[in-house]
């Protein structure tokens, strides 16, 4: 890249400081007594000088401007990855979704016994482990959540059936939501007939 002449320097500075691309006419006007032809020649020489650099001088629809070299565009948009541990609350919610899916937020709260902020589910969806799996066809049509294939990948599971401890917990009745467990206890003393009709509550069978 050879040393620029005075007109080239002037054009270089003008285009650098300009807030918008400029036409040859606008440049010539700005630079006072410059002839359009000279400006055009200088632009070509400047563009050649910047070839191979990190910044290019380019013409777009009659207007000239500097821009970052296309192969370096990735430098303008950097991704920085930060590793963070899932919070205790998010881990609990994830476990509940994994064991009980598909499950609504109300059901998650019933199992956890505490309110769940929407941010917690957002984090799990951002992590790619939980997805919206539709709506439950009950009054209010609550959104229901389920785990994703990425979830299985991350935890090294071939399927949710591999989640440990299910059988023992199930036998002990610890996987039933609070309300169901209570009903199950009372139902054992009465007739059990009504149990199947409660299809809306999928959580009754956590691994179904």
């Amino acid at each position: 890249m050879s040393q620029p002449g005075e007109l080239e320097r002037a054009i270089e500075a003008t285009l650098f400081a300009a807030e918008e691309p400029m036409t040859v006419a606008a440049l010539a006007g700005h630079l006072g007594d410059a002839a359009a032809g000279d400006v055009r020649d200088s632009l070509r020489r400047l563009a050649a000088q910047y070839e191979g650099r990190g910044v290019h001088l380019v013409e777009r629809g009659d207007r000239w401007h500097f821009q970052t070299a296309p192969d370096l565009a990735h430098l303008l948009r950097r991704e920085r990855e930060a590793v963070r541990r899932l919070s205790r609350a998010a881990t609990e919610v994830l476990a509940i979704v994994a064991y009980h899916e598909p499950v609504s937020r109300a059901e998650i709260e019933a199992i956890r016994g505490v309110q769940t902020s929407s941010g917690t589910l957002d984090v799990l969806m951002e992590a790619g482990w939980v997805r919206v799996a539709g709506r439950r066809e009950v009054p209010g049509r609550p959104v229901i959540y389920a785990t994703t294939p990425d979830f299985l990948d991350h935890f090294g599971l071939a399927s949710r059936k591999e989640l440990p401890g299910i059988d023992e917990l199930k036998a002990a009745g610890l996987l039933d939501p609070v309300d169901d467990a209570f009903e199950a206890l009372t139902a054992s003393e009465e007739e059990v007939a009504g149990a199947d009709t409660d299809t809306g509550n999928a959580a009754a069978d956590p691994l179904d």
């Binding site: 500075a13 650098f16 400081a17 300009a18 807030e19 918008e20 401007h65 500097f66 821009q67 970052t68 430098l75 303008l76 948009r77 950097r78 991704e79 920085r80 990855e81 930060a82 590793v83 963070r84 541990r85 899932l86 205790r88 998010a90 881990t91 609990e92 994830l94 476990a95 509940i96 994994a98 064991y99 199992i111 956890r112 016994g113 984090v123 951002e126 992590a127 482990w129 991350h154 935890f155 090294g156 989640l163 440990p164 401890g165 917990l169 009745g173 610890l174 996987l175 609070v178 467990a181 209570f182 206890l185």
Partner: protein
């Protein structure tokens, strides 16, 4: 007049080129006074007056400086211009300094008027230095005035992406803790060996059918039962014996309180 020009002329240039508030020529005092507001205090005015002496600050005549200052203040008062108090205080102090400088030197006086004059000189020198520095600073190639950054930078953006971490154990442990925390309290009775009343009834009546002799109750118990089953069997068999007696199928006998309980088939 731009402030930059104003400051620029403050440098080492001759006072004639001074285009600031004190630019008015000496024979145009009224104009000077009218601009009194433009001075940044009495020290500033003094510095301008000192510059009019066209000599190095170290060589200025304090006496003539004092005279000029006092003269200006008097003229301003004559013109009924409103003067800030500190200009008047300075005038009074300078008048005192002048008289002290003119009087025969009193060795006891401390600080001496010469020391006070020196201090004033030092102050003027410092203010002059900063005025000149300010002028040179303002005259530099200033960003946004003389030099420019890129007009339309694309901007750099860093997208933060969080890689969430959680392991298998934390997941399962969390679930266990949720379950433990929220599970209804259920009392589970462990299964243990018992002999029900029905089976005791069957067993006792069957054994009574085999013999006619009195038998002690303990003989009806399973021979090698473990202690807890034995207790259950004793209780059940006792109740069974009572039941059989009530039905008239057996006779009970006990010779003394807490003595062995005997029974035999009823001889009806």
């Amino acid at each position: 007049m731009s402030e930059d020009a104003l400051i620029l002329d403050l440098g080492d240039q001759p006072a004639e080129n001074w285009s600031g508030p004190g630019a008015a020529a000496a024979d145009d005092d009224a104009g000077l006074y009218l601009e009194l507001d433009n001075w940044e205090g009495p020290l500033d005015l003094l510095l301008d007056l000192a510059r009019r002496q066209k000599v190095d600050l170290k060589a200025i005549s304090i006496l003539s400086l004092v005279d000029q200052y006092i003269a200006y203040i008097e003229r301003a008062e004559a013109l009924k211009l409103e003067l800030a108090a500190d200009y008047l205080v300075m005038a009074a102090w300078l008048a005192y300094l002048k008289s002290a400088l003119l009087l025969p030197r009193d060795e006891q006086e401390d600080p001496s008027p010469e020391d006070l004059a020196l201090r004033l000189q030092l102050r003027l020198a410092r203010l002059a230095a900063m005025r000149e520095a300010a002028a040179r600073l303002m005259a530099r190639d200033r960003l946004g005035r003389d030099v420019f950054r890129r007009g339309a930078p694309e901007g750099l953006r860093t997208d933060r992406k969080t890689l969430w971490q959680c392991d298998w154990f934390a997941l399962v442990q969390a679930y266990g803790q949720v379950s433990a925390r929220t599970a209804p309290v259920v009392h589970m009775v462990r299964e243990r060996p018992v002999m029900t009343l029905d089976s005791a009834l069957d067993r006792v009546s069957a054994m009574l059918g085999v013999t006619l002799d009195w038998m002690e109750l303990r003989e009806f118990l399973p021979p090698h039962a473990e202690p807890r089953l034995r207790k259950s069997a004793l209780a059940s068999s006792f109740v069974a014996a009572l039941e059989l007696a009530r039905l008239g199928k057996a006779e009970l006998a006990q010779d003394e309180a807490f003595g062995p309980l005997r029974l035999r088939r009823a001889t009806a």
